[in-house]
């Protein structure tokens, strides 16, 4: 695929590029970056003037739900949602049915992605068989099958000795372990942050300490074993402090934060909307401020959506009974551009880095760069476009978002993968990429 993206502000934090210029794509790869490039004969031109041309966004934490929960999402619909949200690659969690704890499931997901996917799909393998936290999955074979990390996401590994062995065993493969940091005993039926709001609402609290004791443990075990541990969806000021200290001491720890933990607090739960229920729960204003500061200073390496589709019937009833989680692929860029970048709370280059080079570094994935020679995965942003978030228009099968009805300015305008346009103006162009 060849294309010439003309006149955009090319913003490639990995290579320190931030200037208005043209980007020439040849044979699906980035060929040249310069001003005033002429399109070779037959090369389509994309007018990106006034827009921002970035490396393709990468979301390292999504639930594609296939196999097993196709009523919530499939590889096809989830990757359509990803493309619509400006993502060119996603890493999908192992809590499918059957669990991605063996090669055949990994093969299945990758085959689905090849035949029906709209963006690149990187499976994450389970750490333990059946996510039961009892015995190790066949971790070497999962690596060989193409898993890019290990995680029992959704469930914590409460047995510290088992987690230690997983870290040691996987060292030779160079794949990180992603920790869903949650002490199950401390959470004990909690459905929202423990604090005065949970007291007022009469909902069972989930203390910040439940995340922090596990984040501390994970850092200790990473230090013990030399493994790389990645803290998923970090949500508390205390956990941020632990990660910061561990990093300063040279421990191989990284962290991601979700858009909803950056933009919402426990106050959003008044009214009992099940679309404000997720794990970890929305926290306090103080936590929110700490997360933003850590995202800006690099303590938090990347943004990940924890895209967690659920059917309406799982999200329309009472709060206690509702499923945890919200979709995020189709709203992440817009809500963050509008609520963090526009008011000047986060510089645009930092946001783009945390969507591109940051996640690529965490999982050691290709992408996150527009250096000549790399695959031309490109996300083009329109910072001026105003829109109202309308869940009924989602490409995802599910609609469980707390951002419905938000008026926002800024959106992913075009997504290219290997130089091919897969999304333009929220319309999926139907290209199968792999």
């Amino acid at each position: 695929m060849n294309a010439l993206i003309k006149g955009g502000r090319v913003l490639d934090p990995a290579n320190g590029v931030d200037t208005v210029q043209d980007l020439l794509i040849q044979d699906g790869k980035v060929a040249r970056l310069a001003r005033g490039l002429k399109a070779p004969e037959g090369t389509p031109t994309i007018d990106a003037s006034g827009k921002v041309v970035c490396p393709g966004f990468i979301d390292i934490h999504v639930h594609l739900r296939e196999p097993g929960f196709e009523y919530k999402e499939t590889v096809a619909t989830g990757t359509k949602a990803a493309a619509a949200g400006g993502f060119t690659a996603v890493a999908c969690m192992a809590n499918t049915n059957p669990v991605n704890d063996n090669r055949s499931v990994t093969d299945y997901i990758r085959a689905k992605a090849r035949s029906e996917g709209f963006v690149r799909v990187y499976p994450i393998g389970a750490v333990t068989r059946g996510l039961e936290g009892k015995e190790l999955a066949e971790l070497a074979e999962l690596a060989e099958a193409g898993c890019v990390a290990y995680s029992d996401d959704g469930l914590p590994i409460m047995n510290s000795a088992l987690l230690r062995r997983a870290m040691e065993y996987t060292l030779p493969f160079g794949l990180p372990i992603i920790s869903h940091a949650e002490d199950a005993h401390l959470v004990q039926g909690g459905v929202m942050n423990e604090g005065v709001v949970s007291t007022e609402l009469g909902l069972r609290g989930w203390p910040a300490a439940a995340e922090e004791v596990m984040a501390a443990r994970d850092c200790c075990l990473a230090e013990l074993t030399g493994a790389h541990v990645h803290i998923a969806h970090i949500s508390t000021a205390g956990a941020v402090r632990l990660v910061k200290e561990a990093k300063a001491r040279g421990i191989r720890v990284s962290a991601e934060v979700t858009p909803h933990h950056l933009l919402l607090t426990e106050e959003a739960i008044r009214g009992y909307d099940p679309n404000t229920k997720m794990a970890p729960p929305l926290r306090t204003k103080r936590d929110q401020e700490a997360l933003l500061e850590a995202l800006a200073d690099g303590t938090i390496d990347c943004i990940a959506t924890d895209h967690a589709p659920h059917a309406l019937s799982e999200k329309e009833g009472d709060f206690d009974g509702a499923a945890f989680g919200i979709v995020g692929l189709e709203t992440a860029a817009s809500v963050l551009l509008d609520r963090l970048v526009r008011p000047g709370l986060l510089p645009l280059p930092t946001l783009v880095e945390r969507f591109t080079a940051g996640p690529a570094r965490v999982l050691n994935l290709p992408g996150g760069s527009l250096a000549p020679g790399v695959e031309a995965d490109v996300t083009i942003l329109d910072l001026e476009r105003e829109l109202t978030i309308d869940p009924s228009g989602f490409h995802s099968k599910s609609r469980n978002t707390p951002f419905g009805g938000w008026r926002v300015t800024g959106m992913p305008w075009m997504t290219l993968i290997g130089g091919r346009v897969v999304m333009w103006e929220r319309v999926i162009k139907g290209a199968i990429v792999q």
């Binding site: 004990q188 423990e194 009469g202 009992y272 329309e316 009472d318």
Partner: protein, 309 residues
């Protein structure tokens, strides 16, 4: 003023004047209970559906009597023996009930926020008869009515709410109501049964029974919600009863004119010694009687007054 709300969901959202209106209306309803023929035609032709997802005798019966004395048709829909056990969701059940055109749905449910959920989904009036550990507004109203009757006023009084505050919707509704009315509230219990940051609701916290009840006008003992307690919040019932049970001895430091209340049902010998439950300070049965009056008032204001306006 008149009643303007579609529903009665929480005390927290009520204005002071609305609480006053309900209490005054309830006081006037008490006259009916004293009649030989306990029936007025106020809600004739109206239908009240009691939708109870948790076992309840007192509250459900109280609403039922209240509706019947006002001549409404009252139907009871309890979760046991209904489609709820077959997996029908709260919303589906409610929509089915609404299709039968009730004027008021009275709901009790184990999930906090269940009443709000129904109120948003249904066009008819919804009364919260207890949602999870959130609120139980008619209980707080009948408690306030009882205190007002016995003490002659509410403002300036002090109350100790003792026991399993963490799991108590009664405590939450009373805290909101009493604070609005200018009463002083102390919540007391072992720290594991006190909800986090409860001071931010404007109450004092005590971890000693004698200290909490020493100088208050009202002692409200809460039922120890044994069925809800998970995770070892107290070591044993025996120890709880020893340190937190209200006995004649622990009452020795209390005021002579103190009122002792309990929302029921009482765990006799645990939070209340029998001699205290049946003793001279106890107004527990007044609470039950006032419960009917308060529910008549609420049903009247939601179904009767609003419709006539």
């Amino acid at each position: 003023m008149g009643w303007m709300r579609k529903d009665l969901l929480t005390i927290q959202e009520l204005e002071l004047a609305e609480i006053g209106l309900i209490l005054d209306t309830a006081a006037s309803m008490k006259e009916i209970a004293g009649r030989e023929i306990k029936k007025v035609p106020t809600l004739r032709g109206r239908t009240i559906a009691n939708l109870f997802y948790e076992p309840s005798t007192r509250t459900r019966t109280s609403f039922e009597i209240a509706g019947k004395w006002l001549s409404a048709d009252v139907i009871n829909w309890s979760a046991t023996g209904s489609s709820a056990v077959k997996g029908e969701s709260l919303l589906d059940t409610a929509r089915n009930i609404e299709a039968m055109s009730p004027d008021v749905v009275v709901v009790r449910h184990g999930a906090s926020g269940a009443a709000q959920l129904l109120a948003r989904a249904l066009k008819c009036a919804v009364v919260n008869a207890g949602d999870g550990a959130h609120e139980h507004p008619t209980q707080a109203l009948l408690d306030l009515l009882t205190i007002r009757e016995k003490k002659g006023h509410l403002e300036g009084l002090s109350v100790a709410i003792v026991g399993d505050v963490a799991h108590s919707r009664v405590a939450r509704s009373n805290i909101h109501g009493m604070r609005k009315l200018g009463m002083t509230v102390t919540v007391a219990g072992p720290p594991t049964l006190i909800p986090p940051f409860v001071q931010e609701l404007g109450v004092k916290v005590s971890h000693r029974l004698e200290e909490a009840i020493a100088d208050v006008d009202v002692i409200m003992m809460l039922r120890l919600q044994q069925e809800r307690m998970t995770g070892g919040l107290i070591p044993s019932l025996r120890e709880y009863a020893r340190y937190w049970g209200l006995t004649r001895a622990s009452l020795s430091g209390a005021r002579q004119d103190v009122l002792i209340m309990h929302p029921g049902p009482v765990n006799r010998g645990i939070e209340l010694a029998p001699e205290v439950a049946d003793g001279p300070y106890s107004v527990i049965l007044d609470q039950v009687a006032n419960g009917v009056a308060v529910r008549m008032a609420v049903l009247y204001l939601l179904a009767g007054a609003r419709a006539q306006a």
